[in-house]
Symmetry: C2
Subunit: 549 residues, 2 copies
Amino acid sequence: MKPSPEEIARANAIEEAKRINLPAGEPVPAFLQKAQALIPALVERRLTVRSLVEALPRPDLPLRFAMRALADGAELPQREWREGDVFIVDFGEHLAGYLSFRVSPTGSVADSPIRLRLTFGEVPTDVAEPLYPYHGWVSAAWLPDEVITIDDLPSECRLPRRHAFRYVKVEVLAASRRFGVRFEQMSAHAVTSAATVPPSLPDSYPEWIRRVDEVSQHTLRDCLQTCFEDGPRRDRRLWVGDLRLQALANYATFGANDVVKRCLYLFAGLPRSDGLVNGCVYERPVPTYADTTTLDYAALYCVTLQEYVAATGDVECGRDLWPVARRQIDCLLARLDDTLMFHDSGETWCFIDWAFGLDKSAATHAVIVFALRRMVTLAAALGVSGEIAYYQPLIEKMCAAAREQLFDAGRGVYTSGPAHQVSCATQAWMVLAGIPENAAVAQAALRYALSDPAAIRPITPYVYHYLAEAMLACGMQADALQLVRSYWGAMLDAGADTFWEAFDPLDPLTSPYGDIHANSYCHAWSCSPTWLFRDCGLGAPGDNKLETA
Amino acid sequence: MKPSPEEIARANAIEEAKRINLPAGEPVPAFLQKAQALIPALVERRLTVRSLVEALPRPDLPLRFAMRALADGAELPQREWREGDVFIVDFGEHLAGYLSFRVSPTGSVADSPIRLRLTFGEVPTDVAEPLYPYHGWVSAAWLPDEVITIDDLPSECRLPRRHAFRYVKVEVLAASRRFGVRFEQMSAHAVTSAATVPPSLPDSYPEWIRRVDEVSQHTLRDCLQTCFEDGPRRDRRLWVGDLRLQALANYATFGANDVVKRCLYLFAGLPRSDGLVNGCVYERPVPTYADTTTLDYAALYCVTLQEYVAATGDVECGRDLWPVARRQIDCLLARLDDTLMFHDSGETWCFIDWAFGLDKSAATHAVIVFALRRMVTLAAALGVSGEIAYYQPLIEKMCAAAREQLFDAGRGVYTSGPAHQVSCATQAWMVLAGIPENAAVAQAALRYALSDPAAIRPITPYVYHYLAEAMLACGMQADALQLVRSYWGAMLDAGADTFWEAFDPLDPLTSPYGDIHANSYCHAWSCSPTWLFRDCGLGAPGDNKLETA
């Protein structure tokens, strides 16, 4: 009896690993050495205090506070603060970096140390209201405050920990009554490995697009450190899912292509024992596994490698990492059922979105198909055409299986799981995977999910991105532009300097972590609009479709 | 009309300053350069955790807690701690220095930073009960706790701030639920500029004396840094009053004589505009004035210089600083009334003791006489005999004035101020100044004050020292030994590893600062018993008087 395609895939995954002598479950020194040789230099830029501000309650705004300037930043060194005093400084823009200042006694010599609490705010909420009591389920160690004690005044201080911030709240927790303190030369030292500033979009673009583009780039810039971090506040880690969107935005802007390469090698250098890449890895203190597998992210590793080779022409790297990408696909194929369908068993995490109750089987199936298509493209680029003949038929069969098992013909929508759940995420990935027979079916499925009040809505910019990418893939340019305007534009309206990790326009105070103070307000996966504008033609002034958006 | 002695003194103070071109109110670079050239090297000694301990309530003890060992310190690296856990380590002895450790995740990779609160305990109380809410009037910035956040695990940490401690309470304030932490290589790095360890007292001394001697030396060792600090916890400053006792203990033990010299030059290099030395100065960030004048301490500057020259034979330094010492005396003489008596106007601080309600006029008068006598001795040593002829008659007149105005012949005691207050401090200084006509009068005055329930009792080791020194000066060796036994010995009984800043045996929870957590439990001015034993013969086994104590 002839082996079935999935049997072939399983056998292939095992044989492949043996053939290339690629260990699993232990670090691959050759890959890690390449990754570490590519650690980029960081560029440091000093910012001075733009103004002293106060937070005003603004119930009409999504985050409920806005800042009002009280004085020019140049006045800070003239002011004197005493025990119990609190003030907030505004550096004028979001940054990832270090705070420094000189603190001097006034009125008398300092006859005691001083103790300060410094709270770093990415958004007004962080400094406008107390961080405690904290109600989140991720560790309170992420909260962006520090208590420091300075023994000898005057003193030059540079906090050793990097923070993500625009605002800093300074509380003089304790100082002797005999002296006050003055803060001089307060500076933020922004760091990034984005060494260039790309030209702005032409003036012919609408103002809002130019601003979304700029804020997207600032988001990417502040996440672009010695790797592509997901967020400079939290969790400062390299995730495959974030990396793909950062890499795309990066090709269109900063061109820090060696950092993408470094990240691809970091994942490759830390394979799990089952052969999959980790969902995320740590750079410090040494490159380390996170014990998180994310099946959709493993598929996206292949996509990211393909796009890297396409953007840079670095075929050598592509060939070096091809076995790693291939192993991802083979491992994922090995998880399909006899009908070539993927089912989320719950044993291994599929991310897709943070949306509560989301069924992820269909979307993950589609992500695998999406990745399979890119593997074929990559194989062609690398000249490993034998692999094309192997994967190509699987694409067709997986598409057919999805159409057969997931499509609800009555509603014109793809469903997921035994409860036939309809979600925006499922439709987006179905479209990107090329599963609908044609653009009309694709568009109808997207429109159905977007208009069905029972459909699971996205809550992260990550899924909003894939919705927009899917719309562009099936000719819904105007809808994509409207989506970007209504979603990323709403963050702008709320005062965003960088785009956020999580934002649900219908429930802006929600948090995937149970407390908005645990949210990251500069998060890599929300940086993609600059790619949509610059590489995908979204919003281009000459495009009639878009002017109607 | 012939000028009065005090008129001569005033004129002399002014002329002297002019003649020697010694500025007042601004730093004297030549002196400060000499001080800075004498900064000693610090010796570092690594201590490992002796045991994991818990604090047990002990209402019978002065500080109400005692430590019980739970496990050997070697077990610490085997233990795992999670968010919310608390433990206390004991390094086995008091030290001034730095804490270091390696912290590693257990169970899983660390997917968040960790936040720790570290509380440094000189005594069990510091770590047995919460430091907050704090009720003291000196700054809460002195409280010995730190909150630190560590981003990347495993991590090697060495806290940058120096602390004074034997115990460290570690609270894991926040860490992700996915991992625990293990503390490895936890070490204390004790620093001191005491480069030698003097031989112990011979076994022929009673055990309690040998222990008081040892604890005195540990107290001095931990205060002996780049200057003679008053206390390594608080306020880490160079005070004249503490310096004299430290210098005496030092000559008898560690012989860090150049540190005494450095301290004398620091005071000399920072004269106040009225010509007096500061009561205390700061070493860091650069040698700086404290805006504290302490009249009795200004007098003791002269005594300390005289004793330094006597101990070291460093006549060159003595001559260099003679004008500074002379200016102290001349400025103090200028404050006497027409009868050559000193009165505490309250305008300029006289320290004498922290005892509440203490009238300081008489004691300060006596300190000036004590210093005048030493000036005569110093002048002789330096060969400036012309000065002797000038000061010698003043001593006699000031003694006579004190006998006439302060002695209560009915009770045989010296009083102070308009309310004729009797205090132990006044008697001690009267005796040391040689004001009583003979030893019998001196002894009677001391005994009266010690037995009068209405007399103001000392509350600091500083005054207990001068009581003992006065007893030795008038032949009360047995009483001096009993005093040391009952006072310093009581601190030993309470578990002291170093002697405390303040200790009132009748009210051990009192604090000069309103909260015992603000007290320093290793304080320079309590280190003098080692000098009393080693240089003054107190407690010497061959001395019959003492064996009866």
